[in-house]
């Protein structure tokens, strides 16, 4: 066996440090609460409600991104136009803006001092302290992840497939639904997972727009503030557990289909 170079050992040790850095706190968190305590926590109506709220607001954010983001992602993947780079940078803005700033920014448009906020108020849409507000925030922070994933997906499909389809008599709509969509849906699924994962972890922007109704991260924060680490841990474990399960299911679904094709 050839002797490994020092460089090899540097890469290995850095890798081990990073693995430990990520896994140790998570393992510690997951194993801290006793089984009885976990059981106790999941019977708590507030906990169940907040986790459910987190999941379905994140899901809604992903759905909205899917409906509105897919056409935009397609245009960005297929065409070249003046100002495309600018549009792409704008899409990425929510990723780089600090979370509380996002919350404040959304409130400044949706608040009573702005005509849009006034308009919303008149038709009975409330952003501040409402589920609607939470969904708006989560969509804001999650959308870029969806659009980027799906844009990459569209880019990996040869435009020639669409051209051949057109030449064989298919309209642009038929081509999209018969060729492009079936080939891109997996990347859409990835986009939905990325978007909802980002949305479900949002805290900073949400507390500003809607402390109540409480999503899981806010509840965890409140329990930590009021009762300490020990009482926040079981909720956190449940949140992590349920999210991982959901993502695992999606992952299995996508893998299954890949084997078929």
């Amino acid at each position: 066996m050839t002797k490994k170079e020092p460089f090899f050992w540097v890469t290995v040790s850095c890798g081990i440090v990073i693995m430990a850095f990520i896994l140790l706190p998570l393992i510690e968190l997951m194993t801290a609460p006793s089984f009885a305590m976990l059981k106790e926590t999941i019977k708590d109506k507030d906990v169940v409600r907040s986790i459910w709220l987190s999941i379905y607001t994140a899901g809604l954010a992903a759905l909205i991104s899917f409906v509105f983001g897919t056409p935009l992602a397609y245009v960005l993947a297929r065409t070249d136009f003046r100002g495309k780079k600018l549009v792409e940078s704008i899409i990425d803005l929510p990723i780089v803006i600090p979370h509380p700033v996002v919350g404040i920014a959304i409130l400044s448009v949706a608040g009573k001092n702005h005509w849009i906020g006034e308009l919303f108020n008149q038709v009975g849409i409330r952003i501040m302290g409402s589920v609607t507000g939470i969904v708006v925030v989560l969509t804001f922070v999650g959308m870029p992840f969806y659009i980027n994933a799906v844009k990459n997906g569209f880019e990996s499909i040869s435009p020639r497939l669409e051209k051949v389809s057109r030449s064989l008599g298919a309209s642009m709509f038929s081509t999209f639904f018969r060729i492009t969509f079936p080939l891109a849906w997996r990347s859409m699924l990835v986009g939905i997972v990325m978007c909802s994962a980002r949305a479900i972890s949002e805290f900073g922007a949400v507390v500003i727009v809607a402390y109540h109704p409480m999503i899981a991260p806010v509840l965890i924060y409140e329990r930590f503030e009021a009762y300490g680490l020990k009482y926040s841990q079981p909720v956190a474990v449940w949140l992590v557990f349920i999210c991982l399960t959901l993502f695992l299911i999606l992952r299995i679904l996508t893998l299954h289909d890949r084997e078929k094709a």
């Binding site: 040869s158 051209k163 051949v164 057109r166 030449s167 008599g169 018969r178 060729i179 080939l183 094709a261």
Partner: protein, 345 residues
């Protein structure tokens, strides 16, 4: 039938300038030219897949310039075959039927004929992923012909295939063309393909069509230095004409006939230049003594450069000729060529 009038296309990377082209019904027309000449752009313009700046395209007397691609009756086969990866071979072939009103009986008959002719029955239920290049190519052809197109566009359909395979597919292509009344327009880089398949051909360069005609006439009588060079006329010299003679550099060449212009170019194919130790006195009207300046190995043959005065002739020779004549760089040798082998323009 395709008629193109004053077609201009200006896209970011691709331009076409003043394209005029007539292709008759059921003709097999070949487009050749260097990479980036605009051949694929022209195909896609005919198919309606890229926007046209000005000019018009007619298919069967109908102006289709502004028509959507799905309404043109033009099928296209790309070099990479572009089969739909999520559909089986059968589904790929019948894809176009979703959008055409062809009665079942007739489409079944077309399907069976294509599957039979292209030998596809054994892969009908497979996905494209694991098919060989030749199989993919045949499926792409079947898919394109399934919708009874008026015109079939082929973008280097054979260039990605193994050389052994190519001959077979070329023969298949010829048969497909003969058995149908579809107009074929094919882009290729291969002269052998062009010669064996085409009725006529066009040479493109820098977004323009430089010359059209039968492949043989283009080969023998190029009308520009670009085409002469493109078809391998390696002996290409600017010359002054006086009477039946041409002078280039310090030598005078007998043309056998009087050219129309007073100056221009003379071109001689390298295989028409004969090397010998002694001066030849036969029907070869032109004979010059010179020195070999280079010999390069081209696999099946050698190419020799011979300096006569200040002109370098290129000649193709076989290995045995090379040995017989004991040629080496610096060897004194006689170059000869018939005046009928000289093309002037």
């Amino acid at each position: 039938m395709i008629r193109i009038r004053d077609l201009n296309i200006h896209l970011k990377e691709f331009n076409l300038f003043n394209i005029n082209l007539d292709i008759e019904t059921n003709e097999f027309f070949v487009l050749m030219g260097p990479t980036g000449a605009g051949k694929t752009v022209l195909l896609e313009a005919i198919a309606g897949l890229i926007p046209v700046k000005s000019g018009s395209i007619y298919i069967s007397e109908k102006n289709v310039t502004g028509l959507a691609p799905e309404k043109r009756g033009v099928s296209i086969v790309y070099q990479d075959y572009s089969l739909f990866p999520h559909l089986t071979v059968r589904e790929n072939i019948i894809y176009g039927l979703h959008f055409h009103k062809i009665d079942k009986e007739r489409s079944d008959e077309t399907f069976d004929r294509l599957v039979e002719n292209l030998n596809l029955s054994y892969i009908l239920n497979r996905f494209p992923l694991n098919l060989s290049g030749g199989e993919l190519q045949r499926v792409a052809m079947a898919r394109a012909l399934m919708v009874n197109p008026e015109i079939l566009l082929l973008d280097e359909p054979l260039s990605a295939l193994d050389p052994g395979f190519r001959e077979e597919i070329r023969a298949g292509l010829k048969k497909l063309h003969r058995d149908s009344n579809v107009t074929f327009l094919m882009v290729t880089h291969d002269f052998a393909e062009a010669l064996s398949l085409s009725d006529r051909a066009g040479i493109m360069n820098d977004g323009k069509i430089i010359q059209t005609g039968t492949m043989e006439s283009i080969f023998k009588r190029p009308d520009s230095t670009f085409v002469a060079d493109f078809v391998g006329m390696k002996n290409l010299f600017a010359a002054q004409f006086h009477g039946t003679k041409a002078s280039t550099g310090n030598i005078e060449i007998e043309l056998g006939a009087k050219p129309a212009n007073s100056h221009g170019y003379i071109a001689i194919r390298p295989e028409d230049i004969v090397l010998s130790r002694e001066e030849l006195t036969s029907s070869m009207r032109n004979s010059f003594a010179g020195n070999i300046t280079e010999i390069s190995d081209h696999g099946l043959y050698y190419e020799a450069g011979i300096m006569v005065e200040n002109i370098t002739f290129k000649s193709l020779i076989t290995k045995s000729a090379l040995l017989d004549l004991q040629l080496a760089e610096g060897t004194g040798i006689v170059v000869s060529f018939k005046s009928t082998a000289i093309h002037t323009f």
